[in-house]
C-alpha cells in the first residue's frame, strides 16, 4: 500500500481527518514503520508548538493581565513627576507623618490648602518680576548648567536608569539650558501665538497669560497665571500655572503643575499632573493614560488607557477609561455613564464613600479597599523602629557634640529663647519650600534647590536633638557642662519627647513645636555663627 503524504499525516495528528480516512491511516500505520515515525514526529512537533505557545512570555504572563508591567512604568513616571513638578511638595510626605490635628490644619504650611495657596500665589508674583530672570538665565547659563542638570537628573531619576518619559523630560531640560538648541523664548504680560501663526521651535513662554491659538511645532513650556492652549502643540506641554486650560490639541504629553487643569480638547499621549483640580471635560480625550496627584479629579471625557490617581478629595468618573482605574482618596463616584475597561482598584477611608451607580460598566474586577488603622503599639516592629530611631538620634547628637562642640551647646541654649526660636523656626519651615520652588522654577536653580532641600531635611532632623538636649538640661539641671551631662540630658529629653509625641493630637502639635523650636535655634545660630562670634 502506498504511503500517506505528510500533509495527510499532519491532518490526522491534528484530529482533522475524516473518520473513515483516519481509520485507513491507522491500519496503514500498523504495518508501515516510515509513516509511523512520521506521525510520531508530527505529534512531537505539535506538542512542542502547543507547549511553547502556552508558556507565555514574561511580559504577557503578568498576574493581572497587563497591569504588572505597567506598574513598573508608573514608578518611573512617578519619579519623573516628583522630580520635576513636585519639588516644592516633597516635604509633604514627611510632614504628613506629623499628623497635625484638623483644627490646626491652617497652621500647617504643608496642609493641602495652605500649601497650594502658598505655591500658587507665587505664580502671581512670578510673571511680573520673575520672568526676566527665567528667560535670561535660560539664555545665558549654558554649558555649566548642562552638567549640573545631568547630575541632578541622574540622581533624581533613579541613578541613571532613565526611563522613557524621564529621558524625554531630561531632554526638554537640556534643551532649556542650551541656548543653541532650537528654543524660542517669549515673555510679556500677555504672550500669544495667534491663530494664523506657527512656531517651529520649542517655545518657552512666560507671562501673566499665555495663550496659544496657532501652532507650536515643538514643545511648549509655559509659565504664567493662566496658560491656555486653543490651537495645537505638536510636542509636549509643560505648564506651571495657576490655571491651565487645553481646549485645542496637544499631540504629545502634558506635564502640569497647576492649581486647576481643564482638558477640553485632545491630548495625544499621557497626562502627568499635580493639581488641585483636575478635570477632563466631556469633550476631552486623552490618547493614553493619566497619572496624577490632585485634590479633586473629574473625568467626563475619554481616557484610552489607565488612570492612576492619588487624590486628597474626590474622584468623579462619568466618562470612559479604557483600562484600569487605580485611585486612592476620600471618595469615588462612578455614574451610570462611567465605563472602565479594566480593573477598578480604589483605596478609600470608608466603604460608604464609594458611590458606584448600577449602570456603570466595569469590565474587570472591582477591588475597593478600606484603610483600617490598626494600633501601631501592638506590633513589635514599632518598638524596634523606635529603638533604632532613638539610637540614631543619640548617635547624631554625640557626633555633633564631638565635631562641633560649641555650636551644639550654644544651639541647645538658643532653644531657650522660646518664642523667638519658635517664630523663626516656623518661618523657615514654611519659607524654605517656597524658596526651593522659586529656585526650581528657574530650572537652572534645580541643583541649588536640591542642596537646600538636603540641608532643610538635615536641620529638621537635628531639631529634635537640640530640643531634646535642652529639655533634658532644664529638667536635670546638671552642675557641670561636660559632654556626659549633655548626652544624659539628650537621653532624658528625647525619651520624654518620644513618649509625648505619641499622645494623640497633642503629640502631633508637640512634634511640630519641637521642629519649629529646634529649627529656629539652629538657623539663628547659623546666622550668628556667620557673623563675628560672640558666644556666651
Amino acid at each position: 500500500m502506498e504511503c500517506y503524504s505528510e500533509q495527510t499525516c499532519a491532518l490526522a495528528v491534528d484530529g482533522e481527518l475524516a473518520p473513515d480516512e483516519a481509520q485507513r491511516l491507522r491500519d496503514h500505520l500498523a504495518t508501515c514503520r516510515r509513516c509511523r515515525d512520521l506521525v510520531d514526529a508530527l505529534r512531537a512537533e505539535n506538542r512542542v508548538l502547543s507547549e511553547s505557545l502556552h508558556e507565555l512570555p514574561e511580559e504577557a504572563a503578568s498576574p493581572a493581565g497587563f497591569s504588572h508591567l505597567r506598574k513598573s512604568r508608573v514608578w518611573g513616571d512617578l519619579a519623573v513627576l516628583a522630580a520635576v513638578l513636585a519639588l516644592g511638595s516633597i516635604g509633604l510626605i514627611w510632614f504628613n507623618e506629623l499628623s497635625i490635628p484638623a483644627a490646626l490644619e491652617w497652621f500647617n504650611p504643608f496642609s493641602a490648602s495652605g500649601r497650594t495657596n502658598l505655591l500658587f500665589s507665587l505664580f502671581d508674583l512670578f510673571p511680573t518680576g520673575g520672568t526676566a530672570m527665567l528667560t535670561d538665565y535660560a539664555a545665558v547659563v549654558g554649558f555649566l548648567s548642562l552638567l549640573l542638570l545631568l547630575v541632578a537628573g541622574a540622581l533624581l531619576l533613579g541613578r541613571g536608569r532613565l526611563r522613557q518619559p524621564g529621558l524625554r523630560l531630561l531632554i526638554v531640560l537640556l534643551a532649556l539650558s542650551l541656548p543653541s538648541f532650537a528654543l524660542e523664548r517669549r515673555r510679556s504680560d500677555f504672550v500669544t501665538v495667534a491663530a494664523n501663526e506657527t512656531v517651529d521651535d520649542t517655545l518657552l513662554a512666560a507671562g501673566n497669560t499665555v495663550r496659544i491659538e496657532g501652532v507650536v511645532n515643538g514643545d511648549l513650556l509655559a509659565f504664567g497665571r493662566t496658560v491656555e492652549v486653543r490651537g495645537t502643540v505638536k510636542g509636549d506641554l509643560v505648564s506651571l500655572a495657576k490655571r491651565t486650560v487645553v481646549s485645542g490639541t496637544v499631540e504629545g504629553r502634558i506635564y502640569t503643575f497647576s492649581e486647576s487643569l481643564d482638558l477640553d480638547g485632545l491630548l495625544g499621549h499621557n497626562l502627568y499632573g499635580f493639581a488641585q483640580n483636575l478635570r477632563v471635560n466631556d469633550r476631552g480625550r486623552v490618547g493614553e493614560g493619566i497619572l496624577a496627584a490632585a485634590g479633586d479629579v473629574t473625568i467626563e471625557g475619554e481616557v484610552k488607557r489607565s488612570v492612576d490617581l492619588l487624590t486628597s478629595g474626590n474622584a468623579d468618573v462619568s466618562g470612559s477609561i479604557g483600562r484600569d482605574l487605580t485611585m486612592s482618596g476620600v471618595s469615588l463616584t462612578l455614574t451610570n455613564t462611567a465605563r472602565i475597561g479594566g480593573n477598578l482598584n480604589a483605596h478609600l477611608r470608608q466603604l460608604k464613600e464609594a458611590h458606584i451607580a448600577d449602570g456603570a460598566t466595569i469590565t474587570g474586577k472591582r477591588d475597593i479597599q478600606v484603610k483600617v488603622r490598626q494600633s501601631q503599639f501592638t506590633r513589635p516592629r514599632f518598638y524596634f523602629h523606635q529603638a533604632v530611631w532613638f539610637a540614631a538620634a543619640m548617635l547624631v547628637g554625640w557626633l555633633g557634640l564631638l565635631l562641633f562642640p560649641s555650636f551644639f551647646r550654644v544651639t541647645t541654649q538658643a532653644v531657650g529663647l522660646g518664642w523667638l526660636s519658635l517664630g523663626l523656626g516656623l518661618g523657615v519651615l514654611a519659607g524654605v519650600p517656597v524658596a526651593m520652588v522659586v529656585a526650581a522654577i528657574t530650572l537652572i536653580g534645580i541643583p541649588i534647590s536640591l542642596m537646600l532641600f538636603a540641608v532643610y531635611l538635615a536641620a529638621i532632623y537635628l531639631a529634635k536633638v537640640f530640643v531634646g538636649a535642652f529639655l533634658g538640661r532644664m529638667l536635670l539641671k546638671p552642675a557641670g557642662a561636660t559632654k556626659g551631662d549633655w548626652m544624659l540630658g539628650l537621653l532624658v529629653g528625647l525619651l520624654i519627647l518620644t513618649i509625648v509625641g505619641f499622645i494623640p493630637y497633642l503629640g502631633g502639635l508637640v512634634r511640630l513645636g519641637v521642629v519649629c523650636l529646634g529649627l529656629g535655634a539652629f538657623v539663628g545660630q547659623l546666622y550668628r555663627g556667620s557673623r563675628p562670634v560672640i558666644t556666651a
Binding site: Q7, G15, V48, S50, G65, F66, T361, R366, R373
Partner: protein
Amino acid sequence: MNAKRNMAKEPQPREGETRQMEGLGLENVIERAQGHDAEALGEIYSRYVRRVFGLCRYMLNSRESAEDATSEVFLKLQRSIDSYDSSIPFPRWLLRVAGNQCIDALRRGQRGLKVFVEVEDGAAVIEAASSEPSPLGAVISKQERAQVRDTITRLPENYRVPLVLRYYGELSYNEIAQELSLERNNVAALIFRAKQELRRRLAPRSK
C-alpha cells in the same frame, strides 16, 4: 499606621461572597454572568484575561494593540455572553471571540487589504521533511521553547495567525476557517506551510 486590607465589592462589604465566587464552578459563574452579575463577569475576567491577552499578543504586532483588543473582548463579553450556549467549552468560545477581535484589528490595520490570502492546496509539498526529523521535535529546554515562540511571532501574519489559533487557541480547522473567512482546505494548507516555514527558520539554529 498600616493599612489593613479589606476586600469588598460594592458599598456593602461582601467578603464571603467574593471568596465563594472563586470556588464556584465555571458553569455557575457563566450562568450568573449571563444574568449580568457584575461580580461574575469580573471573575471571568480575572480567570481568562491572561489567556485572552496571550492570544492577542501573539496575533497582533504590539503590546498596546493586544491590550486594546483584550479590553475590547471583555467589554463586548458583557453583551455577547448571552449568546454562549455551552455547545463548546467556554474557554474555546472566548478565544474564538478574541480571535475575531484580533482579526478585525489586523484587517483594520491593513485598511481593506486582504490579510489572509488563499493558497493553492498544499498537495504539491509532500516531499522531504519526513525523511529528516523536524527540529521542533527535539525542542525540550525552556530556552528552546522561547526560541520557538519568538520565531512564531516573527512569522508572517498569514502563517502566524492560523498557527496561533490552532495551537494556542486550540480551535479546529473549521473554526479557524470561519474566523478567517477561508476554506477549510486553505486553513490546512496555511498551517502546514507555517510549520514548514517554522522548521526552516529554526533548523540552522538548532544545529
